[in-house]
Every structure is written in C-alpha cells, then in structure tokens.
C-alpha cells in the first residue's frame, strides 16, 4: 500500500509514492535510482548504507521509507557541488583510499559529516568516527590519511598546504 512521502533529497524537494514499510535504502536505490548508497550487511554492521538525515549520519538499512518524511537527506550523490568533488572525495582519490570502492560512499558520508563537527581531528578521532564503516580492501590507513588530508585542506580554505 503506497503512500506519498515528501522530503528534501540532496538539496531538492522530492515527492514519491512508496510503500512506507520498505527500507529507506531500497527506496533510495530502486525507486530514486541513487545506487551510490550500498547494501553490505543489511544489519547495521558495515556502514555502506550510511546517509545524512537532518545533519546526522544514519544507516538507511535500518530505517523505513516512512521516516524520510519531512527530513533533509544527503546521499553520496549530493556530496559533490557544482561538478566539483568534495574535498573528502578529492582526498580519497589523491591518497589512493579506494580499491573496490564498495565501502567508499559510506566512508565519505561519515567523513564529510564528521569533519563538519570536528574540523581539526586527531588521527584517533578519525579512526573512531569511521569505526562503523568496514572496508575489506584498503587496510584503512589510506582512508584515514585521506580524511586527515581533507581536514587539512578544508582548514586552509581549499588551498594546498
């Protein structure tokens, strides 16, 4: 039984007809075609499905579509602005923090949201912030390097240094 759900998605108002008891993850991927948000475990363990809900990172595999109503949602597709990669995305490229890439959207979402609240993190704080995002490939070091690098760049206003 479908119902109308309206919310702001990556800066634009959207209105969809969806079954409210489906997972938010499935509605984003299947109905809205935003397949950047991944399903790893479907159980809250891996972070691949991370999205930002009203400024807070949540796991879309543990949310119903109904919970999107009235919220401001940012998915990985909404992180880059005006065709420019977000500094966190650019740093992932620069530091070689991507191998298969499956964890990357969730990692980037977590990192972007974390750096907004803590622009000058210690390495340990970065590791803690990403502790709910699992990566089977990289061994994490390059991901942490990338987030540290992005933080530095963002502090110096996008200038190198």
């Amino acid at each position: 039984m479908k119902q109308t759900i309206s919310f702001v998605l990556n800066g634009s108002a959207v209105l969809i007809e969806a079954d409210p008891a489906r997972r938010a993850l499935d509605v984003l991927r299947e109905d809205l075609g935003l397949t950047g948000t991944k399903e790893g475990c479907g159980q809250g363990e891996c972070g691949a499905c991370s999205i930002i809900v009203d400024g807070v990172v949540k796991l879309s595999c543990l949310m119903t579509a109904a919970q999107l109503e009235g919220r401001e949602i940012v998915t990985i597709e909404g992180v880059a602005a005006d065709g420019e990669l977000h500094p966190v995305q650019a740093a992932f490229v620069e530091h070689g923090a991507v191998q298969c890439g499956f964890c990357t959207p969730g990692m980037v979402i977590s990192a972007v949201n974390f750096l907004e609240g803590n622009p000058e993190p210690s390495r340990e704080e970065v590791r803690e912030a990403l502790s709910g995002n699992l990566c089977r490939c990289t061994g994490y070091q390059k991901i942490v390097d990338a987030v540290e690098g992005a933080a530095q760049k963002m502090r110096s206003g996008g200038q190198d240094g």
Binding site: M1, D19, P20, A21, R22, R23, D26, G42, Q43, G44, E45, G47, S50, V56, V57, K58, L59, C61, L62, M63, T64, A65, A66, Q67, E69, S110, F114, E128, A129, S131, G132, N133
Partner: protein, 283 residues
C-alpha cells in the same frame, strides 16, 4: 506490506495502539530491524516513536533527572546534564556500537531489548534508575531492576510505552569507571562489561562502592558481597583480588559465538583487577 505510523505525541501513540493492538513499536530500529528487517518479514503495522516529543531529551527536575526513552546514545554522550550527574552512563553510552548506531539507538530501546549485554544497563542499575511505563489507562514507575525480568523479558505489557528513565542526583559517587571487553573496540557486543561507582573519602578510602556486570549472567549482575569488599578500604591488590574472586564465583555466563563461558568468567574478574589502573590516574 504494512503501515508505518509516525506519531508526534503520546496520546496519538495510545490511540494507534488501541486501533492496532498488534503494532510493533520501534525507536532507532537498531535492534528490532536487525532481527526482522522492515518490509522483509517485519510487516507491521509499525509505530516509529522518533518524533514523539514527550519521549526525547533529558530534563532536570531538581532532585532527579528524567531521560526520555527515545533519547539517543549520541544525545546521552553530548548531554551536559547527564555528563555532570551521571558520568558513568555517559561513558557506557560512548562504548555503544559506532557513531551511526549511537545516532539511531536509544536508551529506551536498550532497556526494552533487555539484553544481558545492553551497555547502558549496568550504570542504570548502579544509579538505581526507575522506568516509567505509560498506557492509555495508567502510568506507573518501577525500579529498572524489577522491570527487567530476564534476557529479552520485561514487564512491558501490550499497550504500554516506556516513556522515560528517572535517576536521582544524590547518589554521592565521586569516582566512576566503565570497561567492556569485546572482540574489537567498535561495533562489538560486550563479552563482559564492568561498571563501578564509588564515593571516595579525602583519605583515599572507598566509603561505599557499587559494581555491576554485563554479559555474564541472564541480566545485569550486582553482588552486595563484592561491593562490601571495597567499603572502608583503599583500592589495593588484596581488595581487588577478593572482589575478583567473588565475581568469578558469582557469574553464570553462557558460551556463544562471541566467547566461551570460561573466558567470560576469567575476563569478569580481570576487569575488576584492572580497576587499579583506572584509579591510579586519580591519585
């Protein structure tokens, strides 16, 4: 697939529950949707409590603090009120899952799940927390330790909502410590956890102490005999050895995918011995 209700107020929740007695309540969904994902077995109707105003946030009532059931672990960690009066609870909440799980999971969900591994539970037992249950017909308050009856078993009846947790401020503890052993630091359900609070006098002696253990018995384990070991004593090796021995004898752990019961028994005692390291910093 079923309906999902998103009520804004408790009267609305009771109204829904009277029409849909079989409805499943959820707050963060981090327990209930792991067991049965929405749309894939959990066909509802579902009632999401995240927008119910009466259930969110911590408020200072003078002699006690009310923590709404839907207060998230993130909010508990960030709350100055909780940090000031109940630092042990804030510490335990910081050890739950990882950021996104703390952003979603709630104290009420942790309590209603009533897992022996629920990390907010040992601190709440130490603080003698009370829970408030509300239904369309009545509201009642009872000690958390009687509300939780066993693993996954509570006194919650059909039509009841856990609305809040109440904790009195006058516990008098001046030192607290929480440590959990898991398979990794983040995202790990406790293999054994240890919460400790004490009132320490000017001479460094413990005036009174309370200990509570998670994951080593069907519910949170508290033992008066262990608490008594500390009373009137400096925390030294012999005191800790006595307490650890009592704990190892008193636990009734199970073996599961995370650890064997023998390991849990050993670790429960070791967590007590490690109190020495935590206290050293304060001397």
């Amino acid at each position: 697939m079923g309906k999902v209700y998103l009520p804004d107020s408790l009267p609305e929740v009771f109204d829904i529950l009277s029409r849909e007695p079989g409805a499943v309540l959820y707050a963060g969904g981090t327990d209930v949707f792991v067991k049965s994902p929405p749309g894939k077995g959990n066909d509802g109707p579902l009632v999401c409590l995240e927008k119910v105003g009466e259930l969110t946030g911590a408020s200072d009532l003078g002699g006690e603090v009310r923590i709404g059931a839907c207060t998230t672990h993130r909010e508990i960690v960030a709350s100055r009120l909780i940090g000031e009066h109940f630092p042990l609870l804030a510490r335990a909440a910081r050890h739950i899952g990882a950021p996104a799980v703390r952003n979603m999971g709630t104290i009420g969900g942790n309590i209603c799940t009533a897992s022996p591994a629920g990390d907010t539970l040992p601190p709440l037992y130490i603080y003698d927390a009370e829970v408030e249950l509300q239904s369309a017909k009545r509201a009642r308050r009872l000690p958390l330790s009687s509300f939780i009856q066993g693993p996954g078993q509570t006194l919650l009846e059909g039509g009841d909502v856990l609305s809040a947790v109440y904790i009195k401020k006058d516990h008098g503890y001046t030192f607290c410590h929480f440590e959990k052993a898991g398979q990794r630091r983040a995202m790990a359900i406790s293999i054994a956890s240890f919460a400790f609070a004490a009132r320490i006098g000017d001479d460094g002696r413990v005036e009174r102490a309370r200990c509570a253990f998670g994951s080593v018995a069907p519910t949170v384990l508290t033992m008066e005999a262990v608490d008594t070991c500390f009373a009137g004593r400096h925390v030294e090796d012999d005191v800790l050895a006595c307490a650890a021995a009592l704990v190892r004898a008193g636990v009734s752990p199970i073996s599961d995918v995370r650890a064997s019961k023998e390991y849990r028994r050993a670790v429960a005692g070791n967590l007590v011995m490690r109190l020495e390291c935590a206290l050293r910093g304060t001397r």
